[in-house]
């Protein structure tokens, strides 16, 4: 294997550096550093998606849900404890209901095994379903009472007051757990079903976080979330954000190194073999569904960590702030534009697309204002209200167009995956 100088990568990254410097020159250091930190968090999300889509050909349409789960964990673990909740009998009540829940699950699980005792299978299914519905109603009823009590007396249960990084780790774990559940159901079926199911679970996670006021304060939002580093109050915006940026950079570097090793290891070759030709991989004795599940869960874990880092940085947990456009489709564009299956390309895509995304907001507004000014001057148009919110919708169109164009004209992305050739 001869090593050539990677001219394409060098040119592209030099261009990216120029773009970043231009943003620094135009918008000032504090704003630009914030943009870089967010781009770094998005790069973690994009790495998660690139191993699902690029390495294994699984399309996850619900990145938003895993981001929200990561953000929720970051909030739950790092926010200070709420004495109005912990100093009453409410934690005990909540624990009792959670015990009921565990007991109910155990009972229903037991009922599904009744056929071992000689009960006919149809009867067993019937018993299990009826039992599940009744117990579900009972637990939900008890849960409603406790949560209403918590909401009226304590507001919400508050956080656990632990260091922020604990929340990031648990965010990854929780996202991975949900990913395992989805993957178990969908990965053996057509690839489209995974996209449908992830789209659904993302909306459900969002609905749950939005409506569980006792857990997350819902639409009232939780802020401020502590940072893992000294906050801007002590060091000033630029320095504090720069330190945060270095932490995310370390996380990215660690993930990048591990993924690099995994990609060139036998495991990576096996994953690519499954992606490129399932049938022959299966014929070689690879356990396809299990490998797929591994890689899907791994991607979800990265998304959870990235979402936690992003939410901690924004310092506010707002369930309504998680939007399919910002947290699913933007990440998708980053991956397919940068180069699915190529980690370097993915990071390049993440930073590039995020710069475009951030800069497109003032751009869309100014274009809209120019157009309406022209329209009024030349044709006497009547301009309706809420113009600014409409102008931002133009960005939705642009993201969609970008997806279509990339798929059509550059399906391998700007920095394509390099498949090693062994002669």
């Amino acid at each position: 294997m001869t090593r050539k100088l990677p001219i394409r990568e060098l040119v592209l990254f030099a261009g990216l550096l120029v773009a970043v410097l231009a943003v620094y020159g135009l918008m000032g250091a504090a704003y630009s550093t914030r943009m870089l930190v967010e781009a770094a968090c998005y790069a973690i999300l994009a790495l998660g998606l690139t191993i699902q889509w690029g390495y294994a050909g699984q399309f996850n349409a619900g990145v938003m849900g895993f981001v929200a789960l990561g953000g929720f964990c970051a909030m739950l673990f790092s926010v200070p404890t709420n004495p109005a909740f912990w100093n009453t009998e409410l934690p005990g009540e909540l624990g009792r209901v959670l015990l009921y829940l565990v007991a109910a699950i155990a009972l229903v699980y037991g009922a599904t095994k009744l056929d071992r005792l000689g009960i006919p299978k149809r009867l067993r299914t019937f018993i299990a379903i009826v039992l599940a519905v009744v117990l579900y109603m009972a637990v939900i009823g008890a849960m409603r009472e406790v949560t209403d009590e918590i909401e009226s007396r304590a507001g919400f249960i508050g956080g656990l007051g632990l260091p922020t990084w604990v929340g990031w780790i648990f965010g990854g774990a929780l996202a991975g757990g949900i990913g395992y559940f989805i993957g178990r159901i969908c990965l053996g079926l057509r690839s489209d079903y995974l996209a449908i199911a992830t789209l659904g679970i993302a909306e459900i996670i969002k609905a749950f976080l939005k409506n569980s006021d006792w857990l997350t304060r819902g639409t009232a939002t939780v802020s401020p979330l502590p940072w893992p580093t000294p906050g801007p109050g002590e060091l000033g915006f630029v320095l504090a954000r720069a330190i945060y940026l270095s932490i995310t950079a370390v996380v990215i570097a660690a993930i990048f190194f591990l993924l690099y090793r995994a990609y060139y290891a036998p495991w990576g070759r096996m994953i690519r073999a499954i992606r490129d030709n399932e049938i022959s991989a299966a014929a070689m004795g690879k356990d396809i569904n299990r490998r797929r599940l591994e890689i899907f869960v791994l991607g979800c874990i990265l998304m959870g960590i990235g979402g936690a880092a992003l939410t901690s940085f924004n310092s506010i947990f707002d369930p309504q702030g998680y939007l399919p456009l910002n947290h699913t489709f933007l990440v998708l564009v980053m991956v397919i534009l940068g180069g699915p299956g190529n980690n370097l390309g993915t990071i390049f895509g993440a930073v590039l697309v995020y710069i475009i995304w951030i800069m497109s907001e003032p751009l869309a507004l100014s274009v809209m204002h120019a157009v309406t000014a022209l329209g009024e001057g030349w044709f006497g148009w009547e301009v309706g209200g809420n113009l600014d919110s409409r102008a931002l919708q133009a960005r939705v169109f642009v993201i969609g167009l970008l997806i279509s164009l990339v798929l059509r004209y550059a399906p391998k992305g700007l920095i394509p995956e390099k498949v090693p050739q062994y002669d």
């Binding site: 009823g141 459900i204 133009a394």
Partner: protein, 334 residues
């Protein structure tokens, strides 16, 4: 008896309404699935597009309906259906056909359809804004009340004009679709192509025509479903992701590639949703006195709150994928 009337109003009628909408959407999704073999994520936005066209036309001609005594929106619906069908064919030519020609994996087509979703959403919101608007511009919505011939029933069964229109439209659409698929040459060719595309091509069926016809049917049904939904409630530009999941669930429950299954699946999902959010305590209240002492009736016996309505189609989807991934009618595409 009033409880029964309440049940009919809140479950039977509203379940039929939701079920009809989902069924019309699911027919389109399942046809696209069986002919082109990918999950068409832009379908809910085609519904919104159709409704948006009706909204535009109704704003232009608010008083046409008064001539024949129907809502203007309904009179203008055929034009909007034709326009949406044309848009669907155009979208296919511009975005899906080049990818099909490159013989990409179905999942790439899914991503392309997500791109189309975003483009449609962006365009519609750019022109219509994000707030909801009523499709009744110059008229008022008629509400019919039927009295029950029982002494105990003091409340009335309430049906609105758009709901009646919806029921009639669904019956007409389903019957004509059935006749088209089973009697006409094109319909038979479509079924042949969904059974075995290579064999269909080899026996001289023009696949491009079939694809265009599929888009015309899917697009016009989507436009009708979107308009009738907006007539019943209001035109909402950002409904798409909430419609998409129930529609896919309906198509998969019915067996993908199976138009009749999609209709059944639509009603299954629609009724499941309304039954799940219905407060069963209302029905049990008349028997309160005859219940045993230890069982006090809680005030809220709904399975899920209305804010978690989207959980229901997801749960159905998961259940069907676990137990019977081919759907209740044995779909062709797994």
């Amino acid at each position: 008896m009033n409880e029964l009337v309440f049940f009919i109003n809140n479950v039977v009628i509203s379940g039929t309404v939701t079920g009809s909408i989902y069924a019309m959407g699911a027919i389109g999704v399942t046809l696209v699935f069986s002919i082109m073999r990918f999950a068409h994520f832009a379908h809910a936005d085609m519904m919104t597009l159709g409704a948006f066209m009706v909204l535009l036309l109704t704003t232009l001609f608010p008083n046409v309906g008064a001539v024949v005594g129907l809502p203007s929106a309904l009179l203008l619906l055929p034009i909007a259906m034709a326009l949406t069908a044309g848009a669907a064919v155009g979208i296919d030519r511009a975005f899906y056909k080049p990818l099909r020609a490159h013989d990409v994996k179905p999942i790439v087509m899914v991503i392309a359809s997500l791109g189309v979703t975003l483009m449609l959403q962006g365009l519609i919101r750019l022109f219509a804004g994000t707030s909801s608007q009523s499709l009744y511009i110059a008229e008022r919505k008629d509400i019919f009340r039927f009295e029950l011939p029982f002494d105990l029933a003091t409340r009335n069964i309430v049906v609105t004009e758009p709901q009646i229109i919806l029921f009639v439209f669904v019956i007409v659409a389903v019957v004509s679709l059935h006749l088209f698929l089973s009697r006409s040459r094109l319909g038979k060719a479509m079924r042949a192509m969904s059974d075995n595309p290579d064999l269909a091509r080899a026996s001289g069926i023009n696949t491009n025509t079939i694809v265009a016809v599929t888009w015309i049917i899917a697009g016009s049904l989507a436009a009708a479903a979107g308009t009738l939904l907006s007539l019943d409630v209001a035109f909402k530009p950002d409904l798409s992701f909430f419609l998409l999941l129930p529609i896919f669930a309906a198509a998969i429950v019915g067996g993908v590639g199976h138009p009749y299954g999609a209709i059944a699946g639509g009603f299954v999902v629609g009724f499941a949703e309304t039954l799940a959010v219905f407060n069963w305590a209302v029905l049990l209240r008349p028997f309160r006195d005859s219940l045993p002492e230890w069982l006090d009736l809680p005030s809220n016996l709904a399975l899920v709150g209305t804010e978690y309505k989207i959980v229901v189609p997801f749960f159905i989807l998961v259940a069907i994928l676990v137990w019977r991934p081919t759907g209740i009618f044995k779909g062709k595409v797994i």
